[in-house]
Symmetry: C2
Subunit: 301 residues, 2 copies
Amino acid sequence: MIRDITLDDITAFVVVARLGSFAMAADELLVTQSALSRRIKKLENSLGAAVLDRTTRSVSVSTLGLEFLPKAIRIVEDFNRSVDDINEIVKVRRGIVSFSCNMTISDTLLPEILEKFKDAHPNIRVRVHEDSSPQALEKVLNGQSELALAQFGEGHPELEFEALINDQFVIVCHKSHPLAQSKSTTWAEVQNERFILLRTESGTRKILQRNLGDRYDQLSNDLQVGHFHSQLGLVGRGIGIAAIPSLVRLSRKDLDIATVPISKPVVSRQLGIVTYRGRTLSPAAKKLREVAASIMSGFEK
Amino acid sequence: MIRDITLDDITAFVVVARLGSFAMAADELLVTQSALSRRIKKLENSLGAAVLDRTTRSVSVSTLGLEFLPKAIRIVEDFNRSVDDINEIVKVRRGIVSFSCNMTISDTLLPEILEKFKDAHPNIRVRVHEDSSPQALEKVLNGQSELALAQFGEGHPELEFEALINDQFVIVCHKSHPLAQSKSTTWAEVQNERFILLRTESGTRKILQRNLGDRYDQLSNDLQVGHFHSQLGLVGRGIGIAAIPSLVRLSRKDLDIATVPISKPVVSRQLGIVTYRGRTLSPAAKKLREVAASIMSGFEK
DNA sequence: ATTTATTAATTCCTAAAAATCATTAATCTT
DNA sequence: AAGATTAATGATTTTTAGGAATTAATAAAT
């Protein structure tokens, strides 16, 4: 008794049992009656006993068949339901996507990303983790997030990064500040301004440090805050100026702040999408990635 | 996306997911690694997305695969359990058999039949319906009983009858009765004896009536009882004699009763196994039938 | 850095399984 | 008794699955 019973065989039995006819069942199953006849024969052969009693004129379920039928129905239905479920997920009509997002993006582009994604896939549950970029990368590594919208930094060999935003540092100052009139400036020009800096641990600050070298050490260092928000708040009150990635500016449109490009050198950070190398994204995550990519790459200034 | 997913495909996925290796899974599934590789590919093709992430060196379950895996495991396990269950039934190691048995047989041969059957198939549940023969046939017709050990009588076109016992009518009388010494007798010889008869409705009485014709009407008719048991009881007390099928005699071995064959004519009834024509018996019923047949056909006198 | 070993994928080929078409056998209906 | 209907069967074709050998990729060892 080798178990070469297939789902088709069981389905055949279920349908014949329901319709009480090989011909009708064959019709429903889109096979010929002879093929169906053989399928049932094979099934019975494998089981070792008849499940259908048939004359040349009629079909009925045998006692053993009555025992098997509910099990058979359950198998077939469970199978179909499971495959349907997976198909719903594949077609991004059901499912869940879990991803990380760094502060800047969650403050600025995330609403648009979520809105567009939800419009296209209203039944997908979305779980956003608002993390710092290193935390975001960590969550991708340990599987808590399928992807991250973040800064890659030194990255990680297991992770893959698609850069989408080249986020240049700009100077922000109060509109009344002399600099506010300038079309652009340089690090040399602003070196005597009162700078509001982020704390030393901050990844963003490290970028400045690495890119400015000596010039960095000459920036005023008497006002340190923890977040871009605080920086902007202080700048908005004219307490000082700050160097921030230009994307950050979007998070506080309410303030009387001017934005001035700065060069020599141009400093920038890369924002983009981080995924686990070689791990296939869920269909929902794939879609989210597309949406995020289109919005992030479409972002100007 | 035609749904040509087979159980083998799903099983393949489950095993690869568990072992994390195509080669090892192929080993367990007794196929080559290349065959397995194709099965997974086919499954993924049908589902429309990858369930396994693989490099040439390692395998892991994708996010979608994680979603599918528990369903897949359930499908495979449920299938195996169901087929195992049916196989237990086919092998008569589990199951139930429901059958009818007329009074005579339940009084005489049934214990032996049940004992032998239970010895061979201790885990099969047995449900005996003790019916009159016509009731027994009715239960086979309406499916309450898979078979009947009974007298077929006029029978029924939907039913099938295998005659096993040719149960001849004999005269029973008290051991002190003159007839008790005879090796045999005839209906003519006993026609003036005091007969204890069954009630007119009785099927057994009808057999006598049909076979004896005129002679029947001349039998004394002043003592009618409902059951063979009562007949034997009265005969055991010397109150009269009776004509009973010889099998019935076995049910009361305690009484001082002599049995005398009677001829001219020999009257007999056929006892045997009744089944529904064209309906396959359950494996347990098939076995019970065998046991009953061997005991019934082995019955002497 | 180069070699070796390991692993999944692929190619080519063969074997087995399943399907179809046409026909047959049985039996129900008229 | 004839015709219609239904499941089974035989012969053939089509499809699918499987195996052996090879390839491609990459991790481990030297």
